[in-house]
């Protein structure tokens, strides 16, 4: 087991190196860089360009050097935990992302918990009542959840929340609480605003989760041991939950790894529509304005979380399901 984990961690290194090269290439490809547009903007506003500062930044991040050289400087910084400097916000990337990560984790965590709470009962119901009207209806609702573009749903819900409950438009809290220290009233305001993003982001995830649970559980329920358990008079609840449900959960455990980056990034487009103070809009904004260290380092952070998440899933699977062996040759 330990050997396997070590080997997997070693395998992560080339993967992450490849990812970093890809990310850096993507960042480099658009013509021009942030400094050019930044200086042009300052000059257009008639403000004095702080030459010294820009020169310092250019030196610091090696914008006078060849891109390949710059890539290695960036990489060396990443390895040492230096995520770089956001040009647009004029602060280190780590601080910038850190300031938003609390709310992001809060929203994403609530979303994921809600998704599970809704998806599991419905998925189990659909599988045990296959081809019943309830199954058809719930499947249809689930598909509808996938089909509605979620930025649109966000807009409509935001409007309805404003009309019906008088919730202020957008953001995660009422305007008067912004920048305020945490208090009960602020928490209440956050909770009153949070249900919209949670529902909107959760909807599509819930729908696909329901379909997966249904399909996997159906496969298990048709197996002989499940029929035997029922035939010998095991309590229906036990005959469902203890054996078939448990072994149909492999896909679920396998997906746990994907949650890690999801919690940190949040749903970008919905967050933009609702102007949430999460990391998603930050990333999109950075990509659009070529704020390359902010975007690049954040993407690398997400990639790292994905790789770690996959590793965690694999280990968890091996623990939960004795049929899965990690050491043996899986494929030739």
């Amino acid at each position: 087991m330990l050997l396997y984990i070590v080997r997997r961690i070693l395998m992560m290194i080339p993967t992450l190196l490849l990812t970093s090269a890809l990310v850096f290439t993507i960042m480099e490809l658009p013509p021009g860089d942030y400094f050019e547009s930044y200086m042009a903007e300052l000059q257009a506003q008639g403000e004095g360009v702080d030459k010294a500062k820009i020169e310092f930044l250019k030196q610091e991040y090696g914008f006078d050097k060849h891109p390949v050289e710059r890539y290695f400087i960036w990489l060396a910084g990443l390895v040492q935990g230096d995520l770089g400097y956001s040009f647009e916000y004029q602060m280190p990337v780590a601080d910038l992302v850190g300031s938003r990560i609390m709310l992001t984790v809060l929203v994403s965590f609530a979303t994921i918990v809600l998704t599970w709470l809704i998806a599991f009962p419905i998925g189990i119901y659909s599988a045990t009542h296959q081809y019943s009207w309830g199954d058809y209806g719930l499947t249809f609702l689930g598909l509808l959840g996938i089909a509605i573009p979620n930025f649109l749903l966000a807009l409509v819900l935001m409007y309805l929340a404003n009309v019906w409950f008088g919730t202020s438009i957008g953001h995660l809290m009422a305007p008067e609480f912004m920048g305020q220290p945490m208090s009960w009233a602020k928490l209440g305001s956050i909770l009153a605003h949070m249900w919209i993003p949670v529902i909107v982001i959760g909807l599509a995830g819930t729908a696909s989760m329901i379909r997966k649970i249904r399909a996997n559980l159906l496969d298990e329920l048709q197996k002989q041991y499940a029929i035997t358990a029922k035939a010998k008079g095991l309590h229906p609840f036990k005959a469902l939950v203890k054996y078939p449900l448990r072994s149909s959960l492999n896909f679920f455990v396998g997906g746990i790894g994907g949650i890690l980056p999801e919690i940190v990034s949040g749903a970008e487009i919905v967050a933009i529509v609702l102007s949430l103070e999460t990391t998603g809009p930050l990333l999109i904004q950075a990509l659009q304005s070529q704020d390359m260290y902010l975007a690049g380092s954040f993407l690398m952070f997400l990639a790292l979380l994905t790789v770690i998440g996959v590793l965690i899933s694999d280990i968890a699977l091996a623990f939960l399901d004795p049929r899965i062996r990690l050491q043996g040759k899986s494929t030739r």
Partner: protein
């Protein structure tokens, strides 16, 4: 057949011989109905199985009609999609009526009177019960160039001579929303197909290479897939879309976006192909082909791929909706298609802020065809997936 009475207990059983003619093959022989099933080809079996999924068949028909409609969008739309009606900016939808003051006049709409509310500067339209504008059919209206080749001005239906016909309202430039939706279908419906075609080819080639050769090739391709999957897709779209020079013509942007959508989506398909190949290449018929000297592309293409083609088609169908939604999302962020190219995503960018939802809710209507098409593709894909393995 009545059984002979049983002998009393203890007595020997009588020797019984059936006097019916003996046919040793009677069990093997198939009834005509069975024969039809057993001799049917794989594709025929799939079709039978697919037909049983009513919703999938209906969805397939619905999509076929939609795809047929994009051939004649110009004919179906009452207006040209770029015609601006300066007097009818943000006009609400006009309802179709059949009876005017108890008298049947056929389908018609009431004219709209326009007033500017001076207190909040809102444009207010109210139906004018005096102006009856019957809808004309097969009539001449806005001119267009059919598929860029033939000049024409014939429409399936158009407004009365000096009336208007905005069944779904107009946008901020006074363009008819219905016509724009009809034209937008052309881009929105093809973008998914083209994107999936690209990812299909990529998935087949890379998945095939990894699965058939295994070893080092497999390792490299697996790492590439892992890298692509470890990045969230929306930032990846964004970054790729940002690379496109602003000087590109909208048509090239359209193709570039299909390529982007395809480039990012192929990984899942490649994995499916790989795992299928890994199990199928152990089969005896592959060994037989190898012994007879078939080369790798032939074995993969001729013997292995047909074995799971149906699964691939089903999963490709299920991938189309995500492409259509992806285009909507990209366009919504202003990084997808640009006007004058009109897709449903471009139309929805008009509905970006909450004022629109409050004041001009009909601008959200382009979402309805998006929802319907995505639903239809999902049902169709479900049906295809169920039918893909007809022997089960």
């Amino acid at each position: 057949m009545t059984a002979p009475p049983l002998p009393p207990p203890g007595a020997p059983l009588p020797h019984y011989v059936s006097d019916r003619p003996f046919d040793p093959r009677s069990i093997e022989r198939l009834s005509p109905a069975q024969e039809r099933v057993y001799l049917a080809s794989q594709w025929r079996l799939m079709w039978w199985k697919f037909k049983r999924h009513r919703l999938a068949v209906a969805s397939g028909l619905f999509l076929a009609v939609l795809y047929a409609s994009i051939l004649v969008s110009e004919l179906l739309a009452p207006y040209n999609y770029q015609t601006r009606h300066i007097d009818h900016i943000y006009a609400p939808p006009q309802a179709i009526h059949l009876f005017h003051e108890g008298r049947f006049v056929g389908p018609f709409v009431y004219g709209q009177t326009y007033t500017l509310n001076m207190s909040n500067l809102k444009r207010e339209y109210s139906p004018d019960p005096a102006a009856v504008h019957p809808i004309r059919f097969f009539c001449r209206g806005d001119g267009y160039t059919f598929w860029g080749l033939v000049e024409s001005d014939v429409h399936l239906f158009c407004p009365a001579k000096d009336g208007t016909l905005f069944l779904l309202g107009t946008d901020r430039l006074g363009r008819d929303v219905l016509s724009r939706i009809i034209y937008g279908a052309r881009i929105s419906l093809t973008i998914g197909i083209l994107g999936v075609a690209i990812s299909f080819v990529l998935g087949l080639v890379f998945g095939g290479l990894a699965g058939y050769y295994g070893g080092f090739v497999d390792l490299v391709i697996q790492r590439i897939i892992e890298v692509l999957q470890s990045l969230p897709s929306i930032p990846l779209w964004l970054a790729l879309a940002a690379i496109m020079p602003v000087t590109w013509s909208p048509m090239i942007v359209y193709f570039a976006i299909t390529v982007i959508l395809g480039l990012i989506d192929w990984t899942g398909l490649a994995r499916a192909v790989r795992s299928k190949l890994l199990s199928l290449r152990e089969e005896d018929y592959v060994l037989a082909a190898q012994l007879m000297g078939a080369n790798a592309p032939r074995i993969v293409g001729r013997h292995l791929v047909p074995g799971f083609m149906s699964h691939l088609i089903a999963s490709a169908t299920l991938a189309i909706p995500s492409m259509i939604l992806g285009e909507t999302a990209l366009s919504f962020l202003g990084l997808g298609l640009r006007p004058p190219v009109t897709s449903w995503g471009v139309l929805l960018t008009e509905a970006q802020n909450i004022n629109i939802v409050a004041l001009y809710p009909w601008l959200l209507l382009p979402a309805i065809p998006v929802i319907l098409v995505v639903l239809a593709f999902n049902f169709l894909g479900d049906g295809l997936r169920d039918a893909a393995d007809p022997y089960k």
